[in-house]
């Protein structure tokens, strides 16, 4: 993998993966897209075999969200509410949400009490038997594979916690206090150097990688973008408040033990504390967060709004499903001796 840092801006390092992402990329930089972006989005979803694994659709959606986060600064903030781009985003979101709902397993809905909801979420997450990236990294991964892992993680983790923060103003009372309690910890509890995204940036630098956001968008597969896009979809649409809450609960509940395995694997490969610190921090942090997320956030929300319970469970199972899709992709590549990243030199795949 080429880890040389280039001097180009983030957006110059993002290449289109098809006609839709090309039009979106141009339009978000303030140029005329040359085509009708909204109809291009409709054509893309009509012709794709699999929205979740479609490079053009997932990159286009990723860019449409990036302008909202401001994560790729060169994307023009004045295009954030551009009507054709919003129309395109809605088309992609509808197709993407339907595709996720179609692959996510149903789980019986418990009674709407904090205790029952927390206990169900712990059951759902512990019943997950998807492929384990963390065990592979702990025992078998090479140094090169560890770097690929950090690159894949960077798409979300350099913006860690941000997708779930969109939910804060949409909650009230106990659920709001619980989400803020978790997010305040994610954002360093008042110490800039302890912000989790900053700890991850430090880990990337320590491993000799580029820690600027967007630097590796080109090399990550569609499923990695899909995993991030799903969080943005849930976070940015108020009607999906239950799903973003359930997503956070499942994410926290499947993090502390894997984080220990990641840290062990990185130590085994000789990486320093600057790289392992992020993962060691998450062993302790997420053992706290999972308790608050299950009971005080998801549980309290379900008590106040029992009608959101199906979506809380949907968000949790969607988190596990997409994590599984990404892990499956990576392990399948690694176990056959290949790189998990896209080969951009040969025009992608």
């Amino acid at each position: 993998m080429n880890v040389t840092q280039s001097a180009s801006t983030a957006v110059e390092r993002v290449s289109a993966r098809g006609p839709l992402s090309a039009a979106v990329l141009k339009s978000l930089q303030g140029e005329g897209p040359g085509v009708d972006v909204a109809s291009s989005a409709e054509q893309a979803v009509a012709s794709t075999a699999d929205v979740i694994r479609d490079d053009d659709v997932q990159l286009a959606l990723f860019l449409l969200y990036a302008v909202v986060y401001g994560s790729i600064p060169e994307l023009d903030a004045r295009r954030e509410w551009d009507l054709p781009l919003i129309a395109a985003r809605l088309t992609l979101e509808r197709a993407f949400e339907a595709a996720i709902r179609a692959v996510v397993p149903d789980w019986p809905v418990p009674e709407p009490s904090a205790g029952a909801v927390a206990s169900t979420l712990f059951k759902v997450t512990s019943a997950d038997t998807g492929p384990s990236l963390s065990r592979f990294l702990a025992k078998k991964a090479t140094r090169e594979q560890a770097l690929e892992f950090l690159v894949l993680r960077s798409i979300y983790t350099l913006r860690e916690a941000d997708p779930h923060s969109w939910a804060i103003p949409r909650l009230r009372g106990r659920a709001k206090a619980a989400l803020v309690e978790i997010q305040a910890d994610e954002y360093g509890g008042g110490q800039a150097e302890r912000v989790h995204a900053e700890l991850f940036a430090k880990a990337m630098r320590g491993a000799g990688l580029d820690d600027r956001y967007g630097g590796y968008v080109d090399v990550v597969p569609a499923v990695t973008l899909a995993s991030m896009n799903m969080m943005s979809l849930f976070g940015l649409n108020r009607r999906l408040i239950g799903a973003i809450v359930g997503h956070l609960a499942a994410f926290e509940m499947t993090s502390s033990i894997p984080s220990r395995l990641y840290a062990d694997g990185l130590r085994r490969l000789g990486f320093g504390e600057d790289v392992t610190d992020y993962f060691d921090e998450h062993v302790e942090a997420d053992a706290v967060h999972e308790q608050i997320a299950g009971r005080d956030l998801a549980g309290a929300l379900a008590e106040e709004h029992p009608e959101l319970l199906p979506d809380i469970l949907f968000g949790a199972t969607a988190c596990l499903t997409l994590d599984g899709v990404v892990a499956e992709h990576v392990l399948e590549r690694w176990q056959s001796g290949r790189c998990a990243l896209r080969d951009v030199t040969g025009g992608g795949e």
């Binding site: 206990s119 712990f122 305040a184 910890d185 502390s256 220990r260 706290v288 308790q291 009971r295």
Partner: protein, 65 residues
Amino acid sequence: MTGRRATISPYPDGPLIVRGDVELRAADGSRISTHRRTVALCRCGLSTIKPFCDGTHKAAGFKAD
């Protein structure tokens, strides 16, 4: 440090969640440093980062009652 009165909540089949102004000390009186406002203390005895919880109780099937 001044803060709100401490609370300790045993979460079902999980750790003790400690919030508020507390100082954790080892048996010899030395201070155990904490890195966050809310901490989870191990209740199952299996954590690898005691006195803090690391989530191992879940895999072990720990039941509080």
